[in-house]
Symmetry: C2
Subunit: 392 residues, 2 copies
Amino acid sequence: MGNRNSVASPASGQTRGSANPGSPAALDASKLSSTLAKTLKPLQPIETLRFGQTFSDHMIVATYDPELGWSAPEVKPYGPITLDPQCSCFQYGGNVFEGMKAYLGPDGKARLFRPDMNMRRMEKSCARLALPPIDGDVVLELIKHLVNVEKRWIPKESGYSLYIRPTVIATRPGLGVTASDHAMLYILASPTGPYFARPVSLLAVSENVRAWPGGTGGHKVAGNYSPGFLPQRAAAEKGYDQILWLFGDDRRVTEAGAMNFFVVVKRDDEDGVDLITAPLDGTILPGVTRASCLALAGDPEFHQEISMRLHPQEMVYTMSDLAKWSSEGKLLEALAIGTAVIVGPCNRIGFEGKDIVIPGDGMGPVGTAIRKKILDIQEGRTEWKGWGVVCA
Amino acid sequence: MGNRNSVASPASGQTRGSANPGSPAALDASKLSSTLAKTLKPLQPIETLRFGQTFSDHMIVATYDPELGWSAPEVKPYGPITLDPQCSCFQYGGNVFEGMKAYLGPDGKARLFRPDMNMRRMEKSCARLALPPIDGDVVLELIKHLVNVEKRWIPKESGYSLYIRPTVIATRPGLGVTASDHAMLYILASPTGPYFARPVSLLAVSENVRAWPGGTGGHKVAGNYSPGFLPQRAAAEKGYDQILWLFGDDRRVTEAGAMNFFVVVKRDDEDGVDLITAPLDGTILPGVTRASCLALAGDPEFHQEISMRLHPQEMVYTMSDLAKWSSEGKLLEALAIGTAVIVGPCNRIGFEGKDIVIPGDGMGPVGTAIRKKILDIQEGRTEWKGWGVVCA
């Protein structure tokens, strides 16, 4: 899988994983070929990095054809892709993606954080949009390979990482309104720093709705995101950073921007605090960081480590609940949770003309402890239940 | 706008509509340049045409840059487009499209059907996804130009047309989850015949939801379509052609596949029939054919022409209503309505293990009369309230 030429046949223009015409080839990492960039880009000073703006030298690409199956994946110089304008990805959506970060540990090894969870989610996202089947374990092999090829792009500084963006797009040519039986997988790598350093303010919105039961809000599909841009712009004009998405007549709290959302609430029984987030009812993205926060919050070993009692609560809660907890002094922290942000503070929530102000600018001991723990695992300073996965 | 070379500057690679750097240029049809195909494709026998599979020789393309605005539009040979894989159109959706048909009249002129309605909807779709602003009147000028360039592609046979697909895609480079300040407009042309000749069967589905209030179901955006592919596949496995999308606990009837849906119901007062469809509450695409059916149904001049009394009804109605009307013998016709299909029959609706069977295979005198009227207007055999617009 070094710097050798692609063995693509000139006739087909593609190497296929199988010569059997009756059985579409599965994605096969052992078939990976590499065409490395002739000139490598200079690394960018980390203080000038902005999320998703700088890309490494290479990407990995594979394509799916309904008869041939998956092509042999290829490492190639990062660059444009060429597609027919009739393709399903432009006309009918049908694109899915994942977000992951590779960190450099003190041992000099590159690590991913619970990548198996991203891969299972990617498989489900593809299935939800009726895209061709894809084996996440093979995608993970390809990701690890790309991380190693691009290791010089992983910043050494804490909080910085190489953000990995596996993407599957629907490439069926034709305007018929039907599932795409063609696809392209590509994996991009982008060095990145802390997503936002300052606390974010949220505007709670119910006139626009991010997701609905029976829709695709529980999957990581491209079409979930663009409908949020207009409400986001309106929120910015009112002085808020992000939307807090509500759902239903009872104004249930769901997600914050493109992130999961947690609140830390003091318990009536004085037995520590509740870490509350909305349940996975199909309107909530099953975030990897979300699942990790809940797992840590329910883990006695972690409680001992941080000398706090946490109670993970996946439950329906509403703006009325937030307002009540706030007025009673029980609302202690408000946290935006996601791969890019990890754990970030939310300092106020605008709703019906008033602001719910979160003490301590949103982040307190719970958010701080969870963030530190996850970053320690991600950056390889601590071993924890196999969550940090070395790109060997 | 003939066959002259583009005057694009080699430095920028693009001709811009304005030299003023402070004011992004508006889309300007008078700046259109043409690079015509050196060899024209042979026309395909019409009996082999399948919807959206064959494309004409040329397309029109223009791009938007936040500083420069819209580039000078260009007629160029139909062919692939090249984009950065980080583009918003792949990562976050943000694509919109329109569907229109150009017909050849007995006077040899090419006509569009109420294209102003498509253009207003396209402007709204772009605004809903926070895409750069686009002037639909200018897009219409470009469409008319393309139709005339591709006139030989319009089949002369009744029911056949040149399907026009204006598309706007989000081309902002970068993974930041924010509105795309870059875009590409392209207009494709595809000769097409009757969308489906035989009646379609529908499976009523409530476990998947096409659209919801506060979402994007009332706009023509790419991301509305791919979430329907999996339910559609499941329906096909059960022996149904398309989904009848329901909404809410009361199982309201909304749309059929990617089409509007109408039923013809006998009135209690014996004063003709009701033509019933769901109201535009944000979950229903405001179809051009839908609006035209409703307008005809409410027009005394049309009533006189067809010697029938019709009452257009935009109202909430449920599967219980359908079942009741069916059992009472009042459910006379069930019609799928859209640009591609025009007016097509639905012969049965599966729901909770039973079929509601529509008499006459779905289509009766009302659907037949409306279909004939619309096709007469589209094909230029009759003049009606300015609905047929000649591509002059």
